[in-house]
């Protein structure tokens, strides 16, 4: 069973993402509504992958990325954002994001990201 942490302030967004991933037998989910809570959950839950929103109150996605990479360089982070400007993408990749999924999430893209992760872990 794979562990997935979803860090997003929007409940709706978390629901949509879970719908895309589907198959609840294969995955175990944990959710956080901002980066701060996300960090705590990450330490407890030790997820295989994190789906991360960028704009959140308290602690945004960029800071979360920076912090988590300090603790675990190998952390696998998939950034979810609607703002796919080149500059924004370059920034999250330089912070160590594994890949980016465009919002609203499409099933194909999300599963694609997950299977890429599988390949790396093999």
């Amino acid at each position: 069973m794979k562990k997935i942490l979803i860090v997003d302030d929007s409940r709706v967004s978390r629901i949509m993402l879970k719908k895309c991933i589907g198959n609840s037998d294969k995955y175990e989910f944990c959710e956080a509504e901002n980066g701060q809570v996300g960090l705590e959950k990450y330490r407890d839950f030790r997820p295989d992958v994190v789906f991360l929103d960028l704009t959140m109150p308290v602690m945004g996605g960029r800071e979360f990325l920076k912090e988590i990479k300090k603790e675990n360089v190998d952390a696998k982070i998939v950034v979810c954002t609607a703002d796919v400007q080149r500059k924004a993408l370059d920034e999250v990749f330089s912070l160590g994001a594994f890949t980016v999924v465009k919002k609203p999430p499409a099933k194909g893209c999300v599963l694609d990201a997950l299977s890429k992760l599988d390949q790396i872990n093999k």
Partner: protein
Amino acid sequence: MDKTEKAIITEEEKEILLEIMNISFGKAAADLAEFIDIYIELSIPYIHVLEPRALSGYLKKEIKDNLDCSIVEQKYWGKFKGDALLVFSAISSRELLSLLDTEKDWGYCSDPIDVLEKESLMEVGNILIGACVGKIAEMLNDIVTYTPPKVIIETQPLDSFFNFQVEEDSSIILLRTAFKFKSTDISGFLFLITSNESVEWLKSALSEFMERS
């Protein structure tokens, strides 16, 4: 939360609408940068539900904190319909014109600066409103059309600004976000005042959106 708010839109619908706004504004910002070379930051949006009577007061209060402002108004009209108000605070005309790369033309124009300022404001406003409203409509599977923008610049007493015609026993869904043009001092707010007529449609479009995803 007061009673009207409960009646018109549920907490869940509000959450869906917020997420749709988030995504739409993110897409709008990305497309504005990629296709139009306009670089803009849009902050986390808010939704307010108001009684019609409270609307003018609310807007006056929001805008009064930004004296020296200019407002672009444009109506959008589809299944999703309403009134878009773009409030620019403290505009520098030169900066504004630079957004549309018209600084070069500056010297050749015989018109007074404030005419150019006003028209440029409308043009930038038209694009910005079109981007934000267009993306929301797109996500709700709707197509909207627009009236030509109108602009009001400063100095007029705010009381004469607003003359919304709304039914008394209804509520208004107001969407709000703050914007800032990157590497300029130009910033302000965008308000989308959703018309009563489209509330029923909006509710069903929201649930459809969740089912689709």
